[in-house]
């Protein structure tokens, strides 16, 4: 599937206010795939869907991030992916390398979160909601992590580990806004699904707002 990226100016959120003298802003729109009829595979009602072996979110969302070589953060941020109503919440979480993700169990049953993804293999074992400390994993390699539960085989979650602090999830119409970016030549990437990542070279100027669409 070819995506057209339309550029519009509409920022949604800025995740990492990396300080700079003059921050650049990128905004635009990612042409997201149409929300399709329910695919004939599992996990469709849990936000992460697979279609032809491609993992994506439903409704389709994209992660737009600024690729490049950025210094590792000194403090490890902590994020959470909970298990609620036999589903991951949020089902899709982009994080920066080094982020610790906690997996609190909000159901009143056991869960056993694990991943065999090359970027991170882990197995938290079975635990109940009252498990303390909350089982957590540090994601230190960039890549896509497929979260599974050994007890509930239909549960799927995605964690996208990025080596950049500058990333944002588009809204459902594909619009994004990245602010606080350092000036310079970078590659702006849009992760659309597990098999599709678009990229564009961008030149960011201080104080300037760049409109870039991903067709």
């Amino acid at each position: 599937m070819h995506l057209r990226v339309l550029v519009s100016v509409s920022a949604i959120c800025i995740l990492s206010p990396n300080s700079g003298l003059a921050e650049a802003i990128v905004e635009g729109r990612v042409n997201l795939p149409k929300s399709q009829a329910p695919p004939p595979v599992m996990a469709k009602r849990y936000e992460i869907v697979t279609n032809g072996g491609v993992l994506a979110t439903k409704p389709p969302l994209a992660v737009v991030y600024l690729d490049g070589s950025f210094p590792t953060p000194t403090s490890h941020p902590i994020k959470q992916v909970a298990q609620k109503d036999l589903a991951f919440l949020p089902p899709f979480l982009p994080v920066q390398i080094g982020t610790t993700v906690e997996f609190p169990n909000l159901d009143d049953t056991y869960h056993n979160i694990f991943s065999y993804s090359p970027a991170k293999r882990f197995d938290l074992g079975r635990y109940r909601p009252e498990e303390r400390p909350i089982p957590s994993v540090v994601f230190d390699v960039a890549g896509l992590i497929t979260l599974r539960c050994d007890i509930h085989e239909h549960m799927r979650g995605l964690i996208l580990v990025l080596n950049t602090p500058y990333f944002v999830i588009t809204d459902e119409s594909g619009r994004f806004r990245l602010s606080g970016l350092p000036a310079g030549h970078y590659t702006l990437k849009a992760w659309i699904d597990s098999k599709t990542t678009r990229e564009q070279p961008v030149e960011l100027k201080s104080g300037a707002t760049l409109h870039t669409d991903f067709p």
Partner: protein, 573 residues
């Protein structure tokens, strides 16, 4: 007859025996198939259980994770955990349950259908290269597949494994990305083979695995089965084979029709030895029973025939005897008849011969009496002699009549005779006789009693009887004459007082020339009663002594009655 019976019995026995043999074989087949069928149901249940278990395994998220998330290095380690329960008993040193659900080995097939090599073969159940090759499929299966793999590496007979291949579908693409192949010990159709003589095994890839048969036999049967299954239409079938000289019934049934694995057949060999022995025993029993039956039949028929023929033979003998007797009797009758006739003729001749001189004598005496020159004593003598000639004439007449009757020359011209009138006449005559004793006569009969007969003979009967009653009465005695109609007869009863006839003489009184013995003073010649009875009989009636005791003797004469009207008419005419 005997031969027909023999042939029929033999035929019946033959058909009975044949019927028994056919029935026995059919029963055997049915029993066997029923038994097999029930075992197959158990087998199907076991399959279902195994399938369910393998299907659960194929859904395990970790296996899917390993396959889908490009973590093939984790596939077997993960499977080791997940299949631990299934493989527990397969560990070396532990026994294998007879028909347990424990697996012997497992492997994963990659996307090309080849074996994903396990990092540590001992953990997944050892298999020889040859056996592993048999697990390989040309393509990954869309559905569960059943196959049979013979592992020949470790034992002489080899080990038969039942394998179940389950597709593993990607949760991401829905496509078959792998297959889990699990090997089990095949379900043994019969465990109690010793008891039933049933041996079961599996034929696959042209090889028969039936360890309870000798290797040489297996090799021989392998070809037979190969030929049979190549022709079979897929349905369960059977044929006979000979093992060690003993006939066996061999059933084969496809175990995995339509499978991607090579076709395998369940082979059941059922020894017919018992059945044949049983049939032979049954044949002997039937034959023995038949022979016994035949023997009994012979004995019984002989006995019955003997019993039946006894009266027939007796009848024949009797009949011969009877014929003899009859001939004798006939001869005697002829001779008697001739004698009688001669006698009668003699009597008649004698009577005739006597009659003439008596008549001459009487005429002479009468002429003498007509003379008047004799003294009165002479007349008295002459009168006495004359009386004697009358008496003689009476005797001669009677004898003549009797002899005629004896010769059958007396014929009755039966007509109505007024008996009452006859009696009256004779009573009158009797009263007029000079030597009549003074007796009182009682009459008790209607005036018009008609009987059938000839008047002169009827008259003679009445005369004789009445005369008898008069002669043997006593002075001052009584005489009673009673007559009446009685059921088509006229019964005349004549009784008189007087000395009774002696008891021993009573049965002789109707004999000729018998005269009561003692009373010689009473005139008579001993023919009257005899003549009267013969005449009465000739008339269809009879004469008998009713009683003679206590001063009373009574005779009964029986005549046939005749209707008065025609009788009267006849009489008038």
């Amino acid at each position: 007859m005997m031969l027909v019976g023999l042939v029929l019995t033999a035929l019946a026995l033959y058909f009975a025996q044949r019927n028994v043999a056919v029935t026995a074989e059919r029963d055997l087949r049915e029993n066997f198939q029923a038994e097999i069928s029930s075992l197959h149901k158990v087998q199907a249940l076991r399959h279902a259980a195994l399938t369910e278990r393998c299907r659960e395994l194929a859904l395990k998220p970790r296996l899917h994770a390993a396959l889908e998330d490009n973590a093939l290095d984790l596939l077997y380690p993960t499977a080791k955990d997940e299949l631990r329960d299934l493989m527990e008993d397969a560990a070396p040193g532990k026994g294998e349950g007879a028909n347990s659900l424990q697996a012997r080995f497992y492997r994963f097939l990659d996307s090309s259908g080849a074996i994903s090599p396990p990092p540590n073969p001992t953990e997944v159940g050892k298999l020889s290269k040859e056996a592993e090759t048999q697990l390989t499929l040309k393509t990954l299966p869309e559905t569960q597949q059943i196959g049979y793999v013979l592992e020949t590496a470790h034992t002489l007979d080899g080990t038969m494994n039942e394998v179940m291949a389950l597709p593993i579908l990607s949760t991401e693409t829905g496509e078959v990305i792998s297959a889990l192949v699990v090997g089990f010990k095949p379900y043994e159709v019969v465990d109690k083979s010793e008891a039933t003589g049933l041996k079961s095994g599996i034929w696959v890839n042209g090889r028969l695995h039936l360890p309870s048969l000798p290797k040489s036999t297996q090799l021989k049967i392998e070809n037979d089965i190969a030929q049979a299954v190549s022709k079979a239409d897929g349905a369960q079938n059977s044929f006979k084979v000979t093992v060690d000289g003993m006939p066996q019934l061999l059933f084969y049934k496809p175990l995995n029709p339509g499978s991607l694995f090579p076709p395998a057949y369940e082979i059941c060999v059922y020894s017919l030895a018992n059945s044949i022995a049983q049939q032979r025993r049954l044949s002997w029993q039937i034959g023995g029973a038949g022979a016994l039956l035949l023997l009994l039949g012979f004995v019984a028929s002989h006995f019955i025939a003997a019993r039946l023929s006894v009266p027939v033979e007796k009848l024949a003998v009797d009949s011969e005897k009877n014929r003899e007797h009859w001939r004798e009797a006939e001869a005697a009758l002829v001779s008697t008849s001739e004698e009688l006739e001669r006698s009668a003729r003699y009597s008649a001749d004698a009577s005739h011969q006597l009659k003439s001189p008596v008549t001459v004598l009487r005429a002479g005496l009468e002429s003498l009496l007509n003379r008047e020159d004799f003294k009165s004593e002479v007349y008295h003598e002459l009168s006495g002699l004359l009386h004697q000639t009358y008496r003689l004439t009476g005797v001669i007449d009677d004898l003549l009549l009797l002899s005629r009757m004896d010769a059958g020359h007396v014929e009755i011209d039966s007509k109505p005779v007024n008996l009452s009138e006859l009696i009256e006449e004779w009573l009158d005559d009797l009263g007029a006789l000079p030597d009549s004793p003074d007796v009182k006569i009682e009459r008790d009969f209607p005036p018009e009693l008609y009987v059938a007969g000839e008047k002169r003979y009827t008259s003679l009967i009445v005369q004789n009887v009445l005369e008898n009653a008069r002669k043997y009465n006593r002075p001052g005695g009584q005489m009673r004459v009673k007559a009446a109609n009685e059921a088509g007869n006229v019964v005349l009863l004549i009784g008189n007082t007087g000395r009774a006839i002696a008891w021993d003489a009573q049965k002789h009184i109707f004999e000729r020339f018998h005269r009561g013995g003692t009373r010689s003073h009473i005139s008579g010649h001993g023919l009257g009663l005899n003549l009267a009875r013969e005449l009465a009989r000739l008339h269809g009636g009879g004469l008998r002594l009713v009683r003679s005791r206590d001063d009373w003797t009574e005779f009964e004469v029986r005549f046939r009655a005749l209707h008065p009207v025609p009788a009267a008419t006849a009489e008038v005419a």
